[in-house]
């Protein structure tokens, strides 16, 4: 279980690159622009363009293309599933068929399109977390959402919750492991049986975890009070977010990429 610590916390790879030094707000918005453009890809041949963008991203962040692409690993199965669905079950001019399965030209295009869209989406999302620390992300989100505080949106509270949750994920994973082992040592069977049996078997793991979490919440609240926490009002930051020219430049670039991808496809194809 311990390796999961590094998965959750360690999507972030700290490096000294142009992208790493960008303001997180710029990165969040920029990635959103990229994701929008990628999701609206019409012609799968346009992936050459997006491939080029990915290479630029990799270069500017000093990360290898391989690491970027690895971000797609968690959803490969989903992508495969979607691709297969489009490939074998679409309507159109058939090229080959066997029973209910048929491959059509439209099917191939549709499958490739969906596949590329999904992969790009996940890769860009992963790119954001690879180049931005969790704390920066929380700060960035808090800042982006703070105009909505006027309408009652709890931007600071949301960011605070995110940070605390991130801080405790590895701890909770360790504790889950420990409790599971303690119950296994008392003969609990956490593996065998049907779905209901397994759910029931996990009660001796879930109840203690809940209790630990509730106690933790109470203790933490008291500790935060003792350190003069009274919410977001009047709080300063040791590493405040500073917007620079390069952030404007990068954001402009990503916006242009989005515009280009929306319009160029129509022109070229």
């Amino acid at each position: 279980m311990k390796f999961l610590n590094h998965l959750t916390l360690g999507q972030y790879i700290p490096l000294d690159s142009f992208v790493h030094h960008l303001d997180p707000r710029c990165k969040i918005l920029g990635v959103l622009f990229f994701m929008t453009g990628a999701f609206l890809v019409q012609d799968p041949r346009f992936f050459l363009f997006w491939g080029g963008i990915l290479m630029v991203c990799a270069f500017l962040s000093k990360l290898s293309l391989g690491i970027l692409l690895r971000g797609a690993r968690p959803i490969l199965i989903l992508v495969l599933f979607t691709v297969v669905l489009h490939l074998f079950f679409s309507d159109g001019t058939p090229l080959w068929s066997w029973g209910i399965f048929r491959i059509t030209r439209e099917g191939i295009v549709g499958a490739a399109r969906m596949g590329i869209r999904l992969l790009l989406l996940v890769i860009f999302a992963g790119y954001l977390t690879l180049t931005t620390s969790p704390m920066e992300l929380a700060d960035g989100m808090e800042s982006l959402f703070s105009p909505f505080r006027k309408f009652g949106f709890p931007a600071h509270e949301m960011a605070m919750m995110m940070t605390i949750a991130l801080r405790f994920i590895p701890t909770l994973l360790d504790e889950t492991d420990r409790i599971m082992k303690a119950q296994l040592a008392r003969g609990a069977d956490l593996e065998g049986g049907g779905i209901f049996r397994r759910l029931r078997a996990f009660i001796p793991v879930l109840v203690p975890l809940f209790l630990i979490v509730f106690q933790r919440a109470e203790d933490l609240a008291i500790a935060m009070d003792a350190r003069c926490y009274t919410g977001g009002k009047g709080r300063t930051r040791m590493h405040p977010l500073n917007w620079h020219m390069r952030d404007s430049g990068a954001l402009l670039f990503s916006f242009l990429v989005l515009l280009f991808s929306l319009s160029a496809e129509r022109v070229v194809f």
Binding site: D225, A226, T236
Partner: protein, 269 residues
């Protein structure tokens, strides 16, 4: 520093008072030990010192501020900082540096002061070089030192330790006590140590014994050796008998208790 008179407190929903008519004057720069069995009210009394709890009866003034007025709480908590028992449930941030900064950030200090305070607190707690470390990866002793650093970053006049050493291993305990001693000696920090470890009382100038919400006895460590401890609800202390006998035989110096690692200091030449 703190002035309590006729202090009483009852937890809502409880039928017995947790504190009963307690009168105490805490002097600036002193080291006070608060001992007593579980349920004696020591933790409750400690929480009065930084206004986490306010009395249901009686007066409570901390650094001149009336702790019953909520508007004074921030000023009180800047001056009286607290370290709790469970190292894990005091840490809110993902890295060491960010966690130490939490307190001063809540105070709204400017960036420069924040950095100064954090650097000083980290050094005082012996955590230099660990600024960027993720908090979950710290050892138990390091986590508790982080909690101490977080408290110190508020620049308090008084440090209240609520069983701060009880969940830490012997080496970690030793490190912590060293830090408290240094702060007391060099910075003139007022220290209130709530503990059930009788070997920790020897650093203090005054010992307070509590039982069932009342102050039972008050005196110096030397007086404690001769006090009628048998009738109290405290653990037996064969070590103390040994020390008394060895003192009588001229083996151990009068008034110096042999602490782990410092036994040689207590011996007569």
């Amino acid at each position: 520093m703190c002035s309590f008179s006729g202090l009483s407190f009852q937890y809502p929903g409880s039928d017995t008072p947790a504190l009963c008519d307690v009168t105490l004057n805490l002097r600036a720069g002193e080291w006070l030990s608060l001992v007593g069995s579980n349920g004696s009210g020591k933790s409750t009394l400690a929480k009065m010192m930084n206004a986490l709890l306010i009395p249901t009866q009686g007066h409570s003034y901390v650094c001149g501020y009336d702790s019953r007025l909520p508007e004074n709480h921030r000023a009180i908590r800047e001056r009286v900082a607290m370290v709790f028992q469970n190292p894990e449930n005091q840490i809110v941030a993902v890295t060491v540096e960010e966690d130490v900064a939490f307190g001063p950030e809540n105070l709204g200090l400017p960036e420069e002061s924040l950095k100064e305070r954090v650097a000083w607190a980290i050094e005082a707690a012996g955590l230099q070089g660990l600024e960027r470390q993720p908090t979950y990866a710290l050892s138990g002793g390091q986590k508790q030192r982080l909690a101490v650093a977080g408290a110190l970053a508020l620049n308090p006049l008084c440090l209240v330790l609520d069983e701060a050493t009880s969940m830490v291993d012997p080496q970690g305990r030793k490190d912590l006590m060293e830090i408290f001693r240094r702060l007391h000696r060099q910075e003139g920090m007022t220290v209130v140590n709530i503990t059930h470890r009788l070997e920790e009382i020897w650093d203090s100038e005054r010992i307070l014994v509590m039982e069932e919400g009342r102050l039972l006895w008050e005196g110096t460590p030397e007086e404690f050796l001769c006090a009628p401890r048998q009738s109290w609800d405290l653990p037996d202390t064969p070590m103390m008998e040994l020390v008394a006998k060895l003192e009588a035989r001229g083996v151990i110096r009068k008034g110096v208790f042999p602490l782990p690692g410092k036994v040689a200091d207590a011996l007569c030449p």
